[in-house]
């Protein structure tokens, strides 16, 4: 119905008004991306945590001799290492990763072919610990180097904790970005509202003179800001959807294994759907407050 949008102020035509709409579009777009990155990093972290916690990888380097056959790596050292691991009380399982699997893991970096399969590769042993604690991992490492001095133990905990730091950092950045975006939106609405208040001083005076209360006038600005926020926000989402598509497509072209597939949670989609309305409400509340504050200084 037309009447629902009737306004006594010619707010529709103001340049400041259009500016708010554009800005909300950009801000919602950025907020959507930030939220997505945050959700993806979160998912990545959970994924790594689940697959990596409580495991060790043991590397047994191939014999240094240039002409040694690849088969030499499945040597006494591996047998000794497996023996030491399997008898250790903290170890649940210890399995040699077959050479074929190792080649497969390396394929993204090295490619495949005869030349690669001739490379002297380390033997890899996948170790599952009974409990996920640092002292158990250290004890296993110690027992292992006693049995096989050349063995190298990768405790995933170390790189995982660095990744956790990274992910948390991304989260903090995303949240900071959102806060700054909200602040920028509020400031823009304040300035845009002040500009149109100044532009319409005469009209507002007439409205007061015929008996309008501050709330009535503020309501007109607030409704306008609400619709600008929602429209701008929806435009921002419309910009976001194809952007996400492009990023997902680029991601899918990266060799599998480097970027695990993370299912983004429902809460992310709900948050994104709410963004235009949050922006609209924020703009509305800010406009209402700004108008009321300014009107108090008027006739």
């Amino acid at each position: 119905m037309m009447l629902a949008f009737r306004s006594d102020l010619p707010l529709r035509k103001t340049a400041a008004g259009h500016f708010v709409q554009w800005l909300v579009m950009v801000l919602v777009f950025m907020a959507a991306l930030a939220a997505t990155v945050h959700a993806y990093t979160d998912g990545l972290l959970t994924h790594w945590n689940r697959s990596v916690v409580g495991t060790l990888t043991v590397q047994i380097p191939p014999p240094a001799a240039e002409n040694a056959t690849p088969a030499a790596s499945t040597s006494d050292a591996v047998t000794a290492a497996l023996g030491a691991l399997k008898t250790h009380p903290a170890v649940a399982t210890a399995n040699l990763i077959p050479r074929g699997k190792v080649l497969e893991l390396l394929e993204p970096w090295l490619g495949s072919g005869a030349a690669v399969s001739d490379l002297p590769l380390p033997a890899l042993i996948d170790v599952q610990l009974r409990d996920n604690d640092a002292s158990a991992a250290a004890a296993v490492g110690k027992a292992l180097s006693a049995a096989v001095p050349t063995a190298i133990v990768d405790d995933h905990r170390v790189w995982l904790s660095r990744l956790t730091n990274l992910a948390e950092g991304v989260g903090v950045v995303a949240l900071t970005l959102m806060a700054m975006i909200s602040g920028a939106l509020a400031l823009t609405v304040i300035f845009a509202t002040r500009a149109s208040l100044a532009e319409f001083v005469q009209v507002i005076e007439v409205l007061h003179l015929v008996g309008a209360k501050d709330d009535y006038i503020a309501g007109q600005f607030a409704r306008r800001a609400l619709s600008q926020g929602i429209i701008g926000g929806l435009c921002g989402l419309m910009l976001y959807v194809p952007t996400l598509g492009v990023i997902a497509w680029l991601g899918s072209r990266v060799e599998r294994g480097m970027l695990p597939d993370i299912t983004l949670p429902l809460t992310l989609w709900l948050t994104l759907a709410a963004l235009p309305f949050v922006a609209g409400l924020l703009a509305m509340a800010t406009a209402h407050m700004t108008v009321r504050r300014t009107l108090r200084t008027m006739m």
Binding site: D8, L209, V210, G211, K213, D214, L295
Partner: protein, 241 residues
Amino acid sequence: MALIRKKNAGFTGDTVQLDGVALRYDTGRDVFKALTLNLPQKSFYFLTGPSGAGKTSLLSLLYLAMRPAEGTLRLFGEDVTLASRTRLAELRRKLGVVFQDFRLLDHLSAFDNVALPLRVAGIGEAAVRRDVSELLKWVGLADLMDARPAILSGGQKQRVAIARAVVNRPSLILADEPTGNVDDKIAVRLIQLFVELHKLGSSVVVATHNESLTARFPFPRLHLENGTLSVLPPQVGAETG
């Protein structure tokens, strides 16, 4: 037209009470000092005086655009200096003002301009449509309801301004030169509108330079000159109507 709604049930004192009121612009000069004046309910006054005497200034005190620099102003018995912003808006809704410079909103049609006092008071659209079209017909602007002020003549604008002033059935009508841009025939018809409202119970103050009007209608005159206000008896009989 059934224009008067009961608005001040219980209030029986003077509609306007000025007590020792001084009016001063930011420029520092007093337009008048220590003005004392009571306008009883259901009264009709002309407000006369030379140009620059302060007629518009006095009216702007009464329609609450200005505050007294000194003294007290009571409207409907209420001290306006003590009223909150919300209360001031409520008091203004009991007033109908015709501004000397009309103060129509250029971006709104004649219809929407007249509808303004009803809409800010939250009156439903059905009632707004009925009252506004009736009134615009009465002032002879039925064909110009959708016209913007920019394309209206001075006299047509004035009639829109008058329609806007009376559409909310005000208890106090303040008209500043409401007939300055129309011929005497229309002027009489417009004053007649105020007289009708006066008969229905509104108090009316009409500032005017038009001697043929003050001569034609038998109402007392408030005469403002050199910062003093005197009440003169009706001028009726000086001219025939």
